[in-house]
């Protein structure tokens, strides 16, 4: 399961609401203990998609390299990636799946009319053909 701590969660929601009506993205860092991943730090990153960002996001690999280095520097792990779905549910779309990576958790925040609505976490399989829903715990928004 994945648990998101208050400070990190607040930053994720703020980033998603501020970026609305475009999609936001970022990295989640923290310790992993057995099956429990705890997101202690959220790193908002720039959506680098060159086209319509209302419907797409793209992370620069060098930004993820930075996130990975930040995690190591602070004795944490890169747990996953978050992004927002403006005015639609927090599902894992075909585009999300095909452009994901099976190594990480993918938290999707649904932002409806500019406000946080709900979130889900997803774990893509190796072939990127399907994603399983991961148990997600986050503070009350």
């Amino acid at each position: 399961m994945i648990k998101i701590e208050q400070e990190a969660w607040q930053l994720m929601v703020e980033h998603a609401q501020k970026t609305y009506p475009n999609e936001c993205c970022g990295a989640m860092l923290g310790p992993i203990d057995g099956d429990t991943k705890t997101v202690r730090v959220a790193l908002p990153l720039e959506n680098a998609y060159p086209g319509a960002q209302r419907e797409r996001y793209e992370l620069r690999p060098e930004d993820l390299l930075f996130a990975e280095r930040e995690a190591r520097k602070n004795g944490m792990d890169l747990i996953g990636i978050f992004h927002s779905h403006p005015d639609c549910d927090a599902y894992f779309s075909k585009t999300d799946l095909e452009n994901s990576c099976p190594w990480y958790s993918f938290v999707v925040l649904s932002i409806q009319k500019g406000q946080f609505h709900h979130a889900n976490s997803w774990l893509p399989n190796m072939e990127q053909t399907e994603a399983a829903k991961e148990e997600l715990e986050y503070p009350n928004a």
């Binding site: 998609y49 992370l59 390299l65 779905h85 099976p102």
Partner: protein, 91 residues
Amino acid sequence: MPKILIPTPLRQFAEKKDSVEVDGSTVGEVLAALTAAYPDMKKNLFNDEGKLRSFVNVYVNDEDIRFLEKDKTAVAAADTISIVPSIAGGK
């Protein structure tokens, strides 16, 4: 020997190490040595045709090998190699 930083989800295939030093003078040689030492890591990095999976980017220090000489990019003993995924998506 060049050092490869192992992303957290792949450490389970590398005796839980967060970095590994392996022999090799190019990125291709170093990755081959890594997957020879830890065969379970191979399917995470390479597809069935033996090519790097589409979402896998490799950096030598701060440089993306796609903009250098890809798997023929030279590596020196003091170099650090990072494995970073490409990630995108949309609703």
